[in-house]
């Protein structure tokens, strides 16, 4: 994890800076002041959003898990005591068998039997079974083709990430939605703007925090570099899709992909950085 590594790293850095000479330290501070005054960094800042559609249903169990669950259920059943309803069933059955005998005397029965005579436990069970048959559980899959990446209803058991196809320079690339940072706004607002500016999409998302989760740095090709700006730095923010029902997006430019399908869409360098913060279940 990054956190413990930082903890080890920081004291070392502090030791190095404290042992440097005063002259060097003064120089560093003066250049820092200069930098904040107006010298722009050659790197352009971008904010990007990693929009995730969370899993809707739980994953299917593997065969070992199935057999283990069956075993545990059976053990629990064998160890359990009889419930009130089951006791009543047994009593009713015993009462029925006693009724069939020749020397049956109904006065010998208990007081509270007379109320239960009308509706026995077996009748109740039958009524409940009828009700259960009328119950329709929601389907586990919405019937969408699993290979259709443009639908967000695919693979309900896993989390999906939104990818956008964008023109970068001369070529079309698949990326996480990103947009350039403007002065005066926080990077999280940039990411929110990136989400809102997607054409044809009405996506309501909840951002998980103000801190970015990932970072990617790339240099412009040589011919663009002369105009100014060495490259761009992209900061990724995590967000969770809150509204499930929205208008279907344009097929060509949007994709909802699982983590293992990312390699089919993203460039290797970009993929390496993005993979670090995307968590598959």
């Amino acid at each position: 994890m990054a956190a413990p590594f930082n903890r080890v790293y920081r004291p070392l850095w502090r030791i190095i800076t404290t042992t440097t000479l005063n002259k060097v330290v003064r120089n560093v501070s003066s250049t820092r002041r200069q930098w904040s005054a107006g010298v722009a960094s050659p790197w352009a800042l971008h904010g990007a959003v990693c929009l995730q559609r969370l899993p809707v249903v739980s994953q299917d169990r593997s065969p070992i898990e199935e057999s283990f669950i069956e075993l545990m259920r059976q053990m629990e059943l064998e160890r359990s005591l009889l419930s009130d309803h089951e006791l009543r069933l047994l009593e009713d059955a015993a009462r029925m068998s006693r009724k069939q005998e020749e020397d049956y005397d109904s006065d010998e029965e208990e007081e509270d039997y007379r109320d239960k005579e009308i509706v026995t436990a077996q009748d109740l069970e039958d009524i409940w079974e009828q009700k259960l048959k009328q119950f329709q559980p929601a389907p586990r899959s919405q019937g969408v083709d699993e290979k259709d990446v443009s639908s967000s209803e695919r693979c309900l058991a896993e989390s999906l990430i939104l990818l956008v196809e964008k023109d970068v320079g001369s070529q079309k690339l698949w990326l996480l939605p990103q947009i350039q940072w403007q002065t005066g706004e926080t990077l999280r607002q940039t990411a929110e703007r990136a989400l809102a500016s997607l054409p044809g999409a009405d996506l309501k998302a909840t951002f998980l925090g103000n801190a970015p989760c990932g970072f990617y740095k790339y240099k412009y090709p040589k011919d663009i570099q002369k105009e100014g700006g060495v490259g761009a730095k992209v900061f990724f923010f995590k967000a969770v899709l809150s509204s499930h029902k929205h208008l279907p997006l344009e097929k060509k430019s949007f994709a909802w992909v699982k983590k293992d399908e990312l390699q089919d869409f993203l460039k290797p360098e970009y993929l390496k950085q993005v993979r670090r913060f995307i968590m598959a279940l």
Binding site: V57, S58, G209, A211, C213, K238, V240
Partner: protein
């Protein structure tokens, strides 16, 4: 000097009391014992075996039993720029096993990630009666009783950089049928856990009116 004289006198006394003993060792032993019993000034602090039988200092400090104080309202820590304050993670649902297991999962995750968990408690179960109209007639009859269970894990001083990761993990592992929400902790939340005292409130109302 005084002690030496005492010793000499006692020696004479004990020799008279004790029977004729030949060995020096036995004499010394008996004189030691007699010294321990008869002497009041504690000369044997310098002896290496001084305090040999003491054990009270080894027992844990038993504080005097104090009566249970009224549960104090803890100071709710405010959020700083890099850390959240105190917030509650509420897990609620109808299935108690799922709710409990999920809250235990969150608690264990916090322990594993070194996130400070202040408290982990359960709110009282709420029963909802589902009443259906009868087919013939206007009377409502009881169809089912649904119980809502709620478990709360209170977290404090969580780093803002860790929070999106934590939320991501917890949301992705949320089981079906369990409601999950994160709320800021407040004074009212704390007071809501206590029982109401109707007599006290009645008396207060009388005083105010």
């Amino acid at each position: 000097m005084n002690t030496l004289l005492n010793k000499v006198l006692l020696l004479q006394n004990t020799q008279a009391l004790v029977c004729a003993v030949s060995s020096v060792q036995s004499q010394l032993l008996t004189t030691h014992m007699a010294l321990g019993v008869l002497l009041t000034n504690r000369q044997y602090r310098s002896m290496p075996t001084h305090g040999i039988g003491k054990y009270r200092h080894l027992l844990p400090k038993a504080l005097p039993k104090k009566k249970k104080d009224r549960v104090q309202v803890k100071q709710i820590k405010a959020a700083t720029a890099t850390e959240f304050g105190v917030f509650n993670v509420c897990v609620s649902g109808y299935d108690m096993t799922l709710v409990e297991h999920y809250s235990q999962y969150i608690h264990n995750l916090c322990n594993h990630l070194d996130i400070k968990v202040d408290e982990s408690y359960a709110l009282p179960t709420k029963s909802t009666e589902v009443m259906l109209m009868q087919e013939q007639g206007t009377k409502m009859y009881l169809d089912a009783v649904l119980k809502t269970h709620e478990r709360i894990v209170q977290i404090s001083e969580m780093k803002a950089t860790l929070f999106p990761i934590f939320m991501d993990v917890v949301l992705k592992n949320q089981p079906e049928g369990v409601r999950f929400c994160v709320k800021q902790h407040s004074e009212t939340d704390f007071q809501a856990r206590f029982k109401t005292r109707p007599e006290l409130e009645g008396l207060l109302a009388k005083i105010n009116n």
